[in-house]
């Protein structure tokens, strides 16, 4: 039989995919509901600046948020890769697609780390 394709990194990506999936499922809906829907529509009055600054000023908040953001981005990238792969039948371009997806997730994670750890 032909040699197995190179897959050494796949289990690791699937692990990150699961972790990111859980993090995204537990954390993102309520935050998007608050900041994307409930506050803009005036259902809830916006938290005052001092309060948010204090919450984000806590290193634990920022580390937690960084973990969620980075994992969720990898999760999204991995799933989007296979969406293009299967949904749009683009198997031929898998190398390019994988590079763009994981590269995008990595760039996003680096931007998140810069924002949350250094620029805040």
């Amino acid at each position: 039989m032909a040699a197995e394709p190179k897959r050494t990194y796949e289990p690791f990506v699937w692990l990150m995919f699961s972790g990111g999936g859980v993090a995204a499922a537990l954390v993102l809906p309520v935050l998007l509901f608050l900041f994307g829907v409930a506050l803009p529509l005036g259902w809830i009055s916006a938290p005052d600046y001092g309060h948010l600054l204090a919450v984000l000023g806590n290193p634990l908040t920022r580390l937690g948020l960084l973990g969620v953001c980075a994992l969720a981005l990898v999760h999204g990238a991995h799933r989007f890769r296979y969406t293009l792969h299967d949904g749009l039948q683009l198997q031929r371009f898998d190398g390019l697609i994988a590079t763009v997806c994981y590269g995008g997730a990595l760039a996003g994670a680096v931007a998140a780390a810069y924002l949350l750890l250094f620029a805040f």
């Binding site: 039989m1 032909a2 394709p5 699961s18 999936g21 859980v22 995204a24 499922a25 537990l26 954390v27 993102l28 809906p29 309520v30 935050l31 998007l32 509901f33 608050l34 900041f35 994307g36 829907v37 506050l39 803009p40 529509l41 809830i44 916006a46 938290p47 600046y49 309060h51 948010l52 600054l53 919450v55 984000l56 908040t61 948020l65 969620v68 953001c69 969720a72 981005l73 999760h75 999204g76 990238a77 991995h78 799933r79 989007f80 296979y82 969406t83 299967d86 949904g87 749009l88 039948q89 997730a105 996003g108 931007a111 998140a112 924002l115 949350l116 620029a119 805040f120």
Partner: protein, 132 residues
């Protein structure tokens, strides 16, 4: 790398819109598309963090921007997809994971209920953290 010989013999043609032929296929693709909205949600939250980090005026500008009708529409759509992701991911977990306590497997349904309770608690905590 060349394809193994058997792979070249038979390659069924798949239509581009194959996933419209059945409801379960469509749901599968919608679930996969949720990845885009998960990524958008992360970007949106990071923009909020950036605005808060830059000061009160910038935070206010973010709040005004977040109330633009197109953005609210996008976020409502994103919320629907993020919820689809969350529900499908929770329901999938018992199938992907076997959790044993004292040698006995925890039934899948019970495991799913536990994750839903965790989800509720995390959401309540974050709600409290933000709104106070």
């Amino acid at each position: 790398m060349s394809a193994p010989p058997y792979a070249r013999l038979y390659r069924p043609k798949v239509r581009l819109l194959w996933w419209l032929s059945r409801r379960s296929y469509t749901l599968f693709i919608l679930r996969e598309v949720s990845s885009i909205f998960v990524a958008w949600t992360v970007v949106y939250l990071l923009l909020l963090v950036q605005a808060v980090g830059r000061g009160q005026a910038e935070y206010q500008r973010f709040l005004d921007w977040s109330a633009s009708p197109w953005l609210v529409a996008l976020n409502v759509l994103s919320l629907a997809f993020v919820l689809l992701h969350a529900v499908t991911f929770v329901n999938l977990t018992p199938q992907a994971m076997v959790v044993k306590v004292r040698g006995r497997r925890i039934p899948g349904r019970l495991l799913a209920v536990q994750i839903y309770v965790t989800w509720l608690l995390v959401s309540a905590f974050l709600f409290w953290l933000v709104v106070g």
